[in-house]
Every structure is written in C-alpha cells, then in structure tokens.
Symmetry: C2
Subunit: 386 residues, 2 copies
C-alpha cells in the first residue's frame, strides 16, 4: 500500500469564542488545512464532534460543515466516540484513504462549549457515560475521574501534590503555543494551593472545556500536488479499541486496557518498539488519565506513571516528552476537536516547525485520544518521512 500522508493542517485558537458559532469555527480550520495542503480537493469530510446535538442543538454536523465550507456535494459524516471523537474521525479518514475509494479525506474536529442553547455542560458531558447506570446517579465525568484518582492515590500512596508535574509541564509547554487557551507557566506552589473541583481533582488536574476546531487533509503520497512544500508526515500506524462504558464493570479500573491495546496495535503496524517513540500526545483531560495512559502504553510500570511527571521525565527534554504544545490542560479541551488538535500538533513537531517547543530529531510521535475513562482509545503513530 502506498503511504498515507497528512498533507494539510489547520487550527483555530482554543478558548471561549462567544462571537462565532460551530460552523464558523470549523471553517477557519478547514480553510487553513486545505491551503496548507497545496489546495487539495477533499472528496469526503469526517467531522469529529462530541456534544453538538446537545450543546448546540445541532446534529447532522458533517453536512453543516461541508456546506458552510463551500464543499457542497462531497461526502460528509459525523463521527462520535465521546472525547475520542477527533481521534476516531482521523481513523475513519485514514481507513477511507486506505480503501482506495477516497483520494483526499478532510478530517475536522469541532466543539463549541459556549453559547449553549441546550442543557448545561455537565449534563451534556454525562451523556458520554452510561446513562442507565452512571449518569442517572448524578455522577458527572469529573466526579468519576475524581473517584479514579482517589483510588489510584490510595493504592499507590501518592502524596497530595503528586500529580502536579502534569500541569506544570503542560502549562510550561503552552506558553509558546499561540493557539493555547492558557499561555502562562505555573509554579509548584500554585498547584499545591489550587482550589478543589472534585476532591482530589483540583483546578490544575482538569483541562478546561473550550471552543475550538482543527483540521487535517489526508491523501496518498502519490497524489500530493506539485507545489507541496512541507516536510512529509505519514500515518504509520492506526488502531482503536473499546472497553466497558461503565467504569464499575471493569476488573481493574486502574489500568486503561484500550490505551494499551490500541497503542500496541498502532506500534506493531508501524514496526516500532516503545523506545523509538520520540513524544507522546496523551489525553490529559484529567491528570489521572495522563498517568494511567503512560502506564498502559508502557512508559511506566503500574502505579508509577505519576512519577514520570514528578521527575520531569515528560518535559520537552525528558525521557518521553508529552503534551508538547500544552496538551489539553493548557491548550484547552475542545471536546471532539481535541484529538484532531493532538494530531495537528504532532505534525508540527514532525515537520520541525515547533520552534521553542521543538523536540530534537523527532521522527515518531504517538497520538492517543480517549473517550470517557478510556472506554474508547484511538492511537496513531505519525512519522516524519525521509
């Protein structure tokens, strides 16, 4: 099979975009991605979106985005897998191009948390958990992550400020990312003194819900336009897995099976071992998710993921750089767009365009998008081509 490359990338600033809607946000990212690809013409649009049917009272988002972007006539569909919707949309785009039936696929992630016309954000987010056995009890996704974190801290005797390293790294990396929601580094004292959101999760253990859109143009290498100028990045591995929707149904809730399975499959496809991965864009919607992801993928043994952050092993010059452009914590968490932002940022790293955040000699990046407490995980290996 011919190589499938990410030919174009686009992203909007992440934040509170009170003045513009879902379609405008997406269009900004689409326009940039198509331009960046050298003007490729997409035949199919995959829209990664998590909550628009509730938050914005808008379903049928695939067509909405294609229509507003002036791409009338093309195939368009919405892909939903909770917080992993963006990663899942990338996976569908990849499969479509791999099938040989689609030459150019446009992957767009978009979410709008402000200007809610539907129910509140917490109620909307709860639809991604098990409605009959979790949401109906009033458990929010944050409360669930708090229970998970509390259990982890108890099992592995983690000190109260043990998770601080995740926020410190994310905020340090966000400073130079002009699309990040928060561009201010924080000190360890800030973490220690932070107010609780849902104990033990404090305001630095949770990524901010935010508006944003990001886009990718995928095509086969042989179809790149002659004016294509960027360093080439290909999708070397792609895989996804599911776990129980309800957290209480798992044998071991402190191990993210899907993160392990999907990353393992993606690495196998790429022909890689873990030590060849130069950076990891993990799904740090909560710092406990980041710790569990590091363990599941294999960068730390069980119970020691938090130590990688505490020991600054996840910094730009650490053993395994993570959240290299600020992650969800500092860049912000734009729901179904989050997974697409991760891929866009990985492409920037692999192109060598990350400026002060550049990982030296980055050749392989692992990008992982989670839905709920890893009920879904989608993993991609992106590779700089020679």
């Amino acid at each position: 099979m011919t190589d499938i490359v990410i030919a174009g990338i686009g992203q909007t600033e992440v934040g509170e975009h009170w003045e513009i809607g879902l379609r405008d946000l997406a269009f900004a990212a689409i326009k940039d991605a198509i331009k960046d690809s050298g003007g490729l013409k997409p035949q199919t649009l995959f829209a990664g979106n998590m909550l628009a049917p509730n938050l914005s009272k808008q379903a049928h988002v695939g067509v909405l985005l294609a229509d507003y972007a002036g791409l009338n006539g093309i195939e368009a569909v919405a892909i939903e897998a909770a917080g992993a919707s963006g990663g899942a949309a990338l996976r569908q785009g990849y499969l479509a191009v791999a099938s040989g039936m689609v030459d150019v696929a446009l992957v767009v992630g978009v979410e709008k948390f402000t200007d809610i016309v539907g129910p509140g954000v917490e109620e909307a987010l709860s639809t991604t958990s098990d409605s009959d056995f979790e949401a109906v009890q009033g458990m929010t996704t944050t409360a669930q992550a708090a229970l998970l974190m509390k259990r982890y801290m108890h099992e592995y005797q983690v000190p109260a400020d043990g998770f601080g390293g995740f926020a410190l790294t994310a905020h340090a990396n966000g400073v130079a990312n002009k699309n990040a929601m928060f561009r201010k580094a924080i000190k360890p004292e800030a973490y220690s003194k932070a107010e609780m959101v849902s104990e033990p999760i404090n305001m630095f253990d949770i990524a901010p819900n935010a508006d944003g859109a990001a886009a990718l143009v995928l095509t086969r290498r042989d179809l790149l336009p002659s004016n294509f100028k960027n360093p080439l990045v290909k999708v070397a591995g792609s895989a996804a897995a599911s776990d129980t929707l309800a957290l209480h149904d798992r044998k071991d809730m402190l191990y993210f099976d899907t993160a392990q399975i999907s990353a393992g499959k993606a690495m196998k496809q790429a022909g890689l071992t873990l030590d060849q991965i130069n950076f990891f864009e993990y799904h740090d919607a909560f710092s406990i998710y980041a710790a569990l992801s590091l363990e599941a993928v294999g960068f730390a043994i069980k119970g020691k993921g938090w130590r990688l952050a505490a020991d600054n092993e996840i910094g730009l010059k650490g053993r395994i750089p993570c959240a290299t452009m600020g992650g969800m914590k500092a860049r912000g968490f734009p729901g179904g767009a989050a997974g697409v932002y991760q891929a866009v940022e990985a492409v920037i790293q692999l192109r060598g365009q990350a400026e002060t955040n550049q990982i030296q000699d980055a050749k392989f990046g692992l990008v992982q998008s989670l839905g709920g407490p890893a009920s879904t995980a989608v993993s991609h290996i992106l590779q700089k081509m020679d």
Copy 2:
C-alpha cells in the same frame, strides 16, 4: 480487490418497545447477524444512530453496544448523518473492510423513540436541520417536508390523492413482513380520507417514528467461514454525497442532487445501467421524498415520480419494485436503524428468501438512505453473486 460480502443479517421487530432499551434492542439484532454469518468475529463496530444523545441522553453509543454485546475490546464508533445514519454506517463498514485493515466489520443501526428522557421527538428531530436558520424558526422536519410537497403539487399539478400509491404499495408489502410495524393493507379510500398531519402531508404520507435495530456483518469473500450456507450477496457499489443543510439554500429544492450523485457513483462502481436494477429501497420517510428519489435516480423524469406510484409501477411486479418489505411507511422509521433495515431487506431479496414478497430473479438492488431532505444521501448497490 477481493469482493466484500454481507455475510450476516439481523433485525428486530419495528414498533414501540416500551419494555427494553437501546442496548437490548441492538443486542438482539447483533446476535442474529453474527449467528447468521456463521459466527464471524467482528473487529470493528459501526453504530448508526440518529438521536440517542437527545432522546435517550446517551452518546458514546458505539462503545455501549459493543460492551453490552460482549464484544469488549473491539473498535467501536458511532456514525451520524441524520436519517441516513444507517446507510452511512454501512458505508464506513464497507470502507473499513475495503481498506484491508479490518477483516470483519459489524454495522448496527439502532434507534429508540419511546421512553424519551430528553426533549420531545419533534425537538430532537429538528436538530438534524439547520439549527440557526431552520429549527430556530420552529420548523419541524415534517413541516419542511409539507412545504416541499406543496410546492411539488403546485409545480406539477398533482391531484390531492396523487401520492396515495406510495402508501398503498408500502402497506401491501408490509403485510407479509413479520418485522413490520404495520401489517395491514390499505385501500385508496383510506388515503383519501386520512387526517392531515401537516397539510398536504396526511397520516399516510409520513412514516411512523419507531424503535428498532438491524445489523450486518461485512467481510471479504475469502474470509467466509466454511459453514457459511447463505446465498452470497456482495456490495457492488457504495457512495455518498451532501447538499446544503438548509433547504432554502438550494437552487432547485425539487431535485435531490445527492440522491442522483450517490446513486450514479454507486452504479458506475458496479458497472451497471439503471435498467439492470431489479428493485429500489428508497427513503420513504415522507411520500414526497420517495417521489423525488425516483426522479433523482432516474426512474422517472422530473415531476413524474408520483405517477410511478399512481400507476402501480413500484409494486412487487411493477417496473421498479420499491419498499419491497413495506418501506419506512409500513415497516416503520427507526431513525438511524432505517438504512440498515433497508440493506437487511435487500439482502433477503437477493438471497431469494423474501417468500411472498420475493422479486423474481432479483440480482441487483439499489438501497438509498437520506438524511434530512436529501442533505445527505448514501447509496449502495447490493448484488447476488453467481
């Protein structure tokens, strides 16, 4: 490329299933489809669902269904394209198998209109139209179809009972379908005397919202199990297209561009001309949609689609049999499951298992799933293999 076949089919009775939920409904169809396939093991689940995030307060439906069906670990994702969600899920399943990355794909369509815990049905359905320019005006999808039908009747001088043939055919074909919601034939007088829902749409011009689930197992021909006993049916063509989301943005609202484009592409892929199609499972959520689909695909010239029904050309022995198992009108309209039901019914026809509803010597079936007023259209050509 090796042939991609539909190895297994499953469906539940369509109706009001007050006693069971989304996951139970889907499981019944999944179980039957896997059994029917000879026990193939799906690696990926594509869930076609239209409104669960609103009606059932349940997003992340792909994982919910995989989990409840005991398929833990497999890839699972939800596919949404309004009323075309089922057809779009089939298309994603097809692309996944065609990619060579997935050997066995499970396509499940499911919808639950009863037991609403979210907003009302009309409000939920309205999320599939343009929320900023259509739904916000209070226009329901039925009211929109009524405006379309009224314009059609005016332009082409259609008599008041001109659309009756669609309902007559659907109800006649539904009698022998044990999964149909309505299994009673109707007389022309019943149509003429039917109460108005949204003038000129009467209760026989609109398909009933209903609960239901249907499933398909797709694989490559060379991967069929040795105990596979059913006549082989392959996907010979697959295509999708999008139009403006808002009806008022079209140059000609009385022509379903997407129905034409997607059917044309699917037929081209299959190497077929229109006269080779033995039956057409159209998207008769409203009888005006059926008429416009017949015209767009090319079975009738513009303005004459209704005459095919009036002249009984769409009956089982007509020129182009449609809605052969009752269509959405008599089988019922289970939202995101509708497109999967259409494919299941087409497979039954092509296997020669349709009993009293059997189309003689059926070799090629066109299955078309619409989202909104053909804002999305997904078309598949299914073929009986020799």
